[in-house]
Symmetry: C2
Subunit: 224 residues, 2 copies
DNA sequence: TGTACATCAGTGAACGCGCGTTCACTGATGTAC
DNA sequence: TGTACATCAGTGAACGCGCGTTCACTGATGTAC
């Protein structure tokens, strides 16, 4: 195997370890010793641990959001003016995820887990960073979902969007564990694309589920 | 406000802080100073930080799993022999969650977020602990879901169960943030029970979505 | 009723450890004149 | 072509800090005789 340069080795190793154990639980000493580089190299090349974490995300998300934007351009131009069906929007997202060449030595599922972790365990600085850097792509996507489900009340759509997001993020962040179980219990080798392919009808059906009427109950009992 | 004893004060404060920032990121010094108890009190009463974390979960989950088991007994006795519909199973779970008196000073949503965190960011010891302590209740629930969706292929049901779980866990763990946004954007005050009420039709529809056929594509491109 | 001892919640200060970061340094390569 | 200096990737050792944990101790309450 060709020896990668220090920067790439750090990024690959950090990505893998962060995905395995989280950010706080992974020390620079672990990263640098596994990557076979000097401890001080992280601070030399990235400046700080925080900056390393951001660099790990940027390496994947920068090309991803660029491609996703292009795919959304394409989708819009194919439906010039007409309404774009929800399934087409969802498939644009998943196709982008699946077909994007990985800028990483690690597989897609490692990054998926990382993204899931980031979303759930990210505190202050990370959340802000992701919001600032990639908020606009995310906003564009949600706007498309909104247009594709214009019959839904705004509040209902808001919650369902997050239910969708939850299914995706959670599944992705437990992907490796789930793949192992599926193989053990059902003797089935599941690829990332298969999971995504299963996810679409699930969330799509969820989005067009009947709207519940929320019983107004005794406000004194239970919590607000 | 009546002064609670040291143990309760530690548990309440730890629960809140863990939910806010995660386990590794919350130090015993922060917990004990906010709880206004001595630093050494945690080790005196609980033995270690790990044991404190487990105690936080046990305080909520022990009564919860007991009640949930009772509710499942009741559900089964009401359907003696007949097939129990999926919606009834889901509603049994959510009713238990909503109506259970909180053993905690903090609200339901704090614990929900904690549970979400535990599931996504838990490493070794925590996962093992939850599995050992509450695995059987969870297993009983999934068995009920299986019986209520006997028309689904096993593999498909496996994945959908986790999609469901994802929606629930993710939503619950971001609940406070989402409630704030909903109030800001739609001027709507959402209670935990409302969110749960919205969640049921979503996941229920997802469970009975059409089954996708997974195209077998070129195995050389993309990842395994 | 009084004395001696045991138990227990709680405390203040210190311990050793692993952490992210810093710093002076090396050695290779490039650039100016 | 040769010399002096600049730039840059990388290094080894140390720094200070916050962490979980430990320990000797206090003071209140309970128990035995």
């Amino acid at each position: 195997m060709a020896q990668l340069d220090t920067v790439s080795r750090i990024l690959d190793t950090a990505e893998m370890l962060f995905a395995e154990k989280g950010f706080a639980e992974t020390s620079l000493r672990t990263i640098t010793s596994k990557a076979k580089v000097n401890l001080a190299a992280v601070n030399y090349h990235f400046g700080s641990k925080k900056a390393l974490i951001q660099a790990v995300f940027a390496r994947y998300l920068d090309p991803f959001s660029e491609r996703f934007n292009e795919e959304m351009d394409l989708l819009e131009s194919r439906h010039k003016g007409e309404e774009i069906p929800l399934n087409a929007v969802l498939e644009t997202l998943t196709t982008t995820v699946i077909t994007m060449p990985s800028p990483t030595r690690n597989g897609l599922s490692v990054f998926m887990r990382l993204l899931g972790l980031a979303y759930t365990q990210a505190q202050g600085h990370m959340r802000r960073y992701l919001q600032e850097q990639y908020g606009s792509v995310f906003y564009r996507f949600t706007a498309m979902v909104r247009n594709a489900s214009s019959d839904l009340p705004d509040v209902e759509r808001f919650w369902r969007l997050h239910f969708m997001l939850g299914s995706a993020v959670f599944t992705m962040s437990s992907l490796d564990a789930l793949k192992d179980i599926a193989e053990q219990d059902f003797n089935e080798q599941t690829r990332v694309r298969d999971v995504v392919q299963r996810l679409i009808p699930f969330v799509s059906a969820g989005m067009s589920a009947p709207i519940p009427d929320l019983a107004v109950s005794d406000p004194a009992s239970g919590e607000g």
